[in-house]
Amino acid sequence: MTLKRIFLWMVVALALPAPGLAADAATEQSLRAALVFNFIKFTEWPPAADGNALLRVCLASNDPVQLAALDALDERRVRGIPLTTARFRRQADCDVIYVDSGQRWKEIAEKRASGSVLTIGGYAGFVADGGMVEISLQDDKARFDINLLEAKRAGLRFYPQLLRLARRIVE
């Protein structure tokens, strides 16, 4: 460790005020929400009967901070199609499902029917559980794994640019 490097660290520590726990959590959740939104951007749904007039995002989480962050996606548009956010009730009402724990994913997966639903998970091991996109935050840096097999099965297509960014791709 050289003197220069120590100096750099000191500059970074001074420049960024030490965030509190709550503020830290909110930042993390907004980052997750932004990631969810970006995944929707780079995903292509098969043409639907209703013409994909609406993209319904279902949230399967009890974390109020997380819910609030994800709710902020409501009314935003992807390729001109407005998003709506709601608490998960049944799969049929969803185009996107965000799951924050393995417990809840198991409940959802048991009742899962075939359909073009993008599944995004916020916990480690989601891809292994049969989820499509697994978000992992390391050192405030977003990483994600993609289960291409599940996505193909559901009839979804990811943009190749997204795939290039993925840490791991399951095929």
Binding site: N38, R79, L165
Partner: protein, 650 residues
């Protein structure tokens, strides 16, 4: 170089045409060059923009997820496709907020953030080292970030300059080709024209019409210039021909003139010789005549003496008659000799005038003594008129007497009825001498020749009895010696007057009035009478002359008319102060004439009628007339008294 200057002589047709070709070709090539360059410029710029925009878009698309997920490493990787483009020096992705995500190449050439930049495509500039592109990156239909690219323009500029250089080279080559071909074609036109001009100049300078312009080759001969040369040559040929003819003609003309001149000179010389001979002959003749007449005079004098001697002897009547004839023949011979002698003496210049003071009264006395008897012998009146005052002439008396003798002799010779009047009057410093006669007169066509030798009026057969015709030719010579000239006026059948002027001698001598019948007239007051203008209408010439001379001697002005017709032809007739008219005039009576004149003027005219009639009828008419009538012969004093009486009565 010198040859090139000669080739393109200024103002020559070749220079003009060449200039035209150069200007046109240059203009065309410059337009093509500028157009091509602009097109290439545009092309380069378009290519630059297309190529950079395409690769920027490709990089953006490739990096879209990286940008969205804020993945700098991935974004940087995506930028690596720009390696394919060597001209790209630097490039970078920026987030929507303008923060640089990833860069490529030299960081120093990139803006740290792009808040101030607006989207733009690269512009091509000859003096720019690089061009920049700044455009958004799209994902589907929304902007996710920006890309900035800086590209070196070196290759583009090289490409453009190479193209421009090539274009200039090609254009210059084209210009050279145009000039080369142009000059070749120019020569087709210029050479014949130049040939024509040169030939024309040589012809003009040398005046040599045998020169000919060389016709151009067969190809050019068919055009107008060839035709022009042919025509020019034909013209030259014609001029040459004409000039030759003219020259021949000129030569012959000169020869002719020379011949004529020589002939003329010869003729002149002959003429001069002839003239000299003639003059010499004339002089010789005159001398001969003078000598001969002198020598002839001696035997004639002898004959005359013998005749006198013969007359003193007892002669029978028949012998006496022959002797008389002989005397007359001798007289004629003597006259002839005298005349011949006079002419020859005059022609020979042997006589010089000797002016002297000559008293007119003496002169007229001797004339009266000499000619009165001769006139009386022919029953002619012979009157002399001269002023009563003393009058002297300055002239040669002998020559003047000879002249008068000739003129009066002629007058007597040609007058059968009437009379002769010799008058002398003052005319300023000169005296006018007139010899009037009522003889046969001279026709107007003869007036010019009467002074020639041997001219005789009405005597073409040369009647010797009437003289030799030498009189007037002597008169002419005498007048010339006296420095005067004889004028002659005449009316055929009515008479003639010969007159001439001679200088008066100095001032008049004191008056010496003599007792004579003219005294009352002279005593008449002159002042009133002086201005009088008296018209005399009288058909008898002598009476009219006598009246005129008498009245003018009293200082009156007179106009004499021979008939009523003549009087009325004068426009001033009505203005006369007094009229003296004969009663019996040719064609009309004097009374009728006076009545006619009275009608021409409002004032009462004053007049006297003269008549020679004495019959009772005439006396009655005269008494009924408005004007006094006098019966001839009338005395001057009575006439003047009547004029004065009428003047007083007005």
């Amino acid at each position: 170089m010198q040859r090139l200057f000669a080739y393109f002589e200024r103002n020559s047709i070749r220079f003009e045409l060449f200039r035209l070709v150069v200007v046109l070709a240059s203009a065309a090539l410059v337009i093509s060059l500028v157009g091509g360059t602009m097109f290439e410029w545009n092309n380069q710029q378009k290519h630059l923009r297309q190529s950079l925009a395409t690769i920027a878009e490709a990089a953006g698309t490739a990096a879209s997820a990286a940008i969205v997920f804020n993945d700098s490493r991935a974004a940087k990787q995506a930028l690596q496709i720009l390696v394919a483009r060597k001209e790209i020096e630097a490039a970078a992705f920026y987030s929507l907020q303008g923060i640089r995500l990833a860069s490529y190449g030299d960081d120093a050439q990139l803006p740290r953030n792009i808040d101030q930049l607006s989207e733009h495509l690269p512009d091509f500039g000859l003096f720019l080292s690089s061009a920049t592109l700044y455009q958004p990156i799209w994902l589907d239909d929304s902007t996710i970030g920006y890309i900035f690219v800086r590209a070196s323009l070196r290759d583009y500029r090289h490409g453009f300059l190479l193209h421009a250089a090539l274009a200039i080279g090609v254009n210059l080559l084209g210009l050279l080709l145009v000039l080369g071909f142009g000059l070749r074609f120019l020569d087709n036109i210029v050479k014949p024209v130049k040939e024509l001009a040169d030939t024309a100049r040589q012809v003009r300078r040398a005046g040599n019409f045998s020169l000919r312009a060389t016709p151009p080759g067969s190809k050019a001969a068919r055009n107008e210039v060839g035709e022009l040369i042919d025509s020019f040559n034909a013209m030259l040929a014609e001029i040459e021909q004409r000039e030759r003819e003219l020259s021949n003609y000129h030569t012959s003309l000169e020869r002719m003139v020379l011949e004529r001149t020589e002939a003329l000179l010869a003729a002149n010389a002959e003429l001069q010789a002839a003239k000299d001979t003639a003059e010499a002959a004339t002089v010789a003749k005159s001398r001969f005549l003078a000598a001969a007449s002198h020598d002839l005079r001696q035997p004639i004098q002898a004959i005359n003496l013998f005749k006198d001697a013969l007359n003193k002897t007892a002669l029978s009547a028949e012998q006496q008659r022959i002797s008389n004839f002989l005397a007359r023949s001798i007289q004629s011979l003597g006259d002839l000799l005298n005349a011949l002698l006079d002419i020859s003496k005059l022609d020979a210049g042997a006589i010089r005038p000797a002016p002297e003071l000559l008293d007119v009264q003496d002169l007229f006395g001797s004339i009266d003594a000499e000619f009165s008897p001769l006139a009386a012998a022919k029953s002619l009146r012979f009157k002399l008129h001269f002023s009563f005052g003393p009058m002297s002439l300055c002239t040669d008396g002998k020559l003047l007497q000879s002249l008068l003798r000739n003129l009066i002799g002629n007058a007597l010779k040609y007058t059968e009825r009437g009379g002769i009047l010799v008058a002398i009057r003052r005319r300023g410093q000169q005296a006018l001498i007139q010899i009037w006669d009522t003889g046969i007169g001279i026709a107007p066509e003869n007036l010019a020749t009467i002074f020639d030798e041997y001219f005789q009026v009405a005597n073409p057969e040369r009647d010797k009895a009437k003289g030799l015709g030498l009189g007037l030719s002597i008169v002419k010579r005498l007048a010339k010696l006296l420095d005067t000239e004889i004028a002659c006026r005449s009316r055929l059948g009515r008479g003639s007057v010969f007159e001439f002027c001679l200088p008066l001698a100095g001032h008049a001598l004191p008056s010496n009035p003599g007792p004579d019948e003219a005294a009352p007239a002279r005593a008449a007051p002159a002042s009133a009478a002086d201005a009088r203008h008296i018209a005399v209408i009288e058909d008898d010439f002598m009476v009219a002359q006598a009246l005129q001379v008498s009245l003018e001697a009293l200082g009156m002005r007179t106009a004499v008319y021979g008939s009523a017709e003549e009087a009325l032809a004068d426009p001033g007739i009505a203005a006369a102060d007094f009229y003296i008219s004969d009663f019996r005039l040719p064609g009309a009576s004097g009374l009728e004439l006076l009545d006619t004149i009275q009608r021409l003027t409002p004032r009462r005219i004053r007049a006297i009628l003269l008549t020679g009639e004495t019959s009772p009828g005439w006396i009655e008419i005269a008494q009924s007339a408005r004007w006094p009538v006098l019966f001839k012969p009338v005395e001057l004093s009575k006439l003047l008294a009547l004029i004065e009486a009428q003047d007083a009565g007005r």
